[in-house]
């Protein structure tokens, strides 16, 4: 166990020295494996075993059928972006909420939630919505603090409301049903929207000038705006409905595997963007290129993490943790509280996927041995990961906003995000103490 903990510390140091996460985890994982197998760092037997494990891991991960869902969902998000669906979502939520104080920020949160239902990435959701919502909020004189914060926080919903790339990877890592994870993300995602709406209310209550009301739209305009979001609903129904057997009716007779759902979603988004004439050849190539780059970077981290987790497992850390908890009769809730604190701390340094990959293989056996539900834990991990996306100093969504908007400091965004961060902590507590909120849907209708 000591060796594994030293390994952890080394990874952390190397990562802080700016070594790419894949190489930090890969290097420490390989050397640790050599040590555990051969008894010393220079053992030839250990070296042979470690290299054999590393070679196999690289070959297998790159050719994993289950993981093909990752590039397809990323591609779907990018095509959706080109199809102008975010604009329609924003217009529709704006029609209903815009006339309230802080209404445009509320509309942003709701539109982010809607966009999350057709996009599996938080960063993509934040980047897309910032292009759509930010100019509008500026036009009505919203403070930068509120407008950027509502997008950065709303964007985090991307990885919780299905589809979600992070939930797919959690599912593959822990052999938990991806379908069940997706459906379990819906209620916590909706709760996230409601809590963020309260955070907007709180912000405009504290500073009424931060979010002035826009003009009210009549019911005809509202209905028209609502009618425009058909493409979003269609895509969501195709992907999530297909996954849940909603299309398993004559004459279609279709139930999708996660990869098929992602493929249908990507193709659907592609066709919608094409039909609307908003996808030039150059845009298509750009979307494909960006997807390939993002996927390769994610797969690299995945390979590094698997090498590292092989070492940690060989060093017996998960078993040692289970033994430690059982021997000392620590209550399950205390363990969970500790795990959440560790996540919140790690979230300050690591980006979402690396944090998940580094910790889940260690915590998962412990958590399930204590009787917690694997689907519930997946959602808890994703909610903590969402929080890390808006936690200083490396809250990635905040940096995305800074990158897209430009003339606003990260300090301003982080200050604006504070009420949303607190709302997230409340939501996390609610989900931890009321697991029912997460499990009711998968238990009643899971595949």
């Amino acid at each position: 166990m000591t060796v594994a903990l030293i390994g952890f510390a080394l990874v952390l140091i190397l990562v802080l020295l700016r070594m790419p996460i894949v190489f930090a985890m890969g290097l420490v994982g390989t050397l640790g494996f050599v040590l555990e197998r051969g008894g010393s760092l220079f053992s030839e037997r250990g070296m042979r075993a470690a290299l054999s494990m590393v070679g196999r891991q690289i070959m297998d991960t790159a050719q994993d059928y289950g993981l093909s869902v990752v590039p397809l969902f990323i591609l779907m998000g990018l095509f959706v972006n080109k199809g102008g669906l975010a604009r329609e979502l924003y217009a529709a939520s704006n029609a209903f909420l815009g006339h309230r104080r802080g209404g445009l920020a509320m509309a942003t949160v709701v539109a982010c939630g809607g966009f999350s239902a057709i996009c599996g990435s938080s960063l993509a959701t934040a980047a897309t919505m910032s292009k759509v919502a930010m100019p509008e909020m500026r036009r009505y004189g919203y403070s930068d603090r509120l407008s950027t914060a509502s997008i950065a926080a709303g964007g985090t919903l991307g990885i919780l409301i299905p589809p979600s790339v992070i939930l797919v990877i959690y599912g593959l890592l822990t052999e938990t049903s991806i379908g069940q994870l997706f459906i379990a993300g819906i209620i916590p995602g909706l709760l996230g929207i409601v809590f963020y709406l309260f955070a907007v209310r709180f912000t405009v209550w504290r500073d009424p000038k931060s979010g002035p009301a826009a003009e009210r739209q009549d019911s005809g305009e509202r209905l028209r705006a609502l009618g425009q979001v058909w493409a979003v609903l269609l895509l969501f129904f195709l992907v999530i409905g297909g996954l849940y057997g909603a299309l398993d009716i004559w004459p279609l007779n279709l139930t999708f595997s996660p990869t098929e759902a992602a493929g249908m979603g990507a193709m659907g988004a592609f066709l919608i963007a094409l039909a609307r004439g908003s996808l030039r050849f150059r845009d298509m190539v750009e979307a494909l290129r960006e997807t390939a780059f993002t996927s390769a970077a994610l797969f690299a981290v995945l390979i590094g993490a698997q090498i590292f987790s092989n070492f940690v497992n060989l060093a017996g850390l998960p078993d040692a943790l289970v033994a430690l908890v059982t021997d000392n009769a620590v209550s399950p809730m205390t363990v969970m509280a500790l795990i959440l604190v560790i996540y919140l701390l790690l979230g300050m340094v690591f980006e979402s996927l690396s944090m998940l990959l580094l910790t889940v293989p260690i915590f998962f056996p412990l958590v399930t041995s204590l009787g917690f539900d694997p689907v519930w834990f997946g959602i808890v991990v994703v909610v903590v990961t969402e929080i890390s996306l808006i936690t200083p100093p490396v809250g990635l969504n905040v940096f995305i906003l800074k990158g897209v908007v430009g003339d606003v400091t990260t300090g301003t965004i982080f200050r604006g995000v504070t009420p949303f961060w607190i709302a997230d902590i409340f939501r996390l507590a609610l989900i931890v103490f009321l697991p029912w909120l997460v499990l009711v849907l998968p238990q009643s209708m899971g595949p």
């Binding site: 700016r18 790159a62 290129r289 997807t291 996927s295 390769a296």
Partner: protein, 166 residues
Amino acid sequence: MRPVLTLLRQASHLPVALACTALFVLMVMTFSDVVLRSAANAPIEAATEITRILMAIIVFSVMPVISARGGHIAVDLTDPVFARYRLGRWRDAAIHLAAGLMLIYPVRQIWVLAERARGFGDVTEYLAIPQFYIGWFIALFAGATALVLIGLGLLHLFAPKMLRPA
């Protein structure tokens, strides 16, 4: 030296184009598989193995390019500290060289695995595509990634000016 770098930059479009094509084919194939299964009860039987091959192509063909562009996921929290003491260049040189050199061993191992598959005559289930082609492909591009990283490390050490855009 600059012409060589320009040539390498131009050449990098090729593997990117390959990855884009593989990704597009993956999307269309998955869609067609589902539609054919539903409409004609005739799914593409080899879809799973083609998916696996396409995945390897998508992931590994762009690996040298993202390594060259610094596209790997990393944490830049300590950048200001390195900048203050003007150590950024040395740190980047060390990291690139270490990453490139440490990749050499797995690349050799993947090559060994591919050769073993060739020796056994391993082929894929439906299309009988020899497995070692995939191994060779991964080894080739992982090897290129190692070379790119080592090259970048050396440039950081000996010719940092080359790394700034012309």
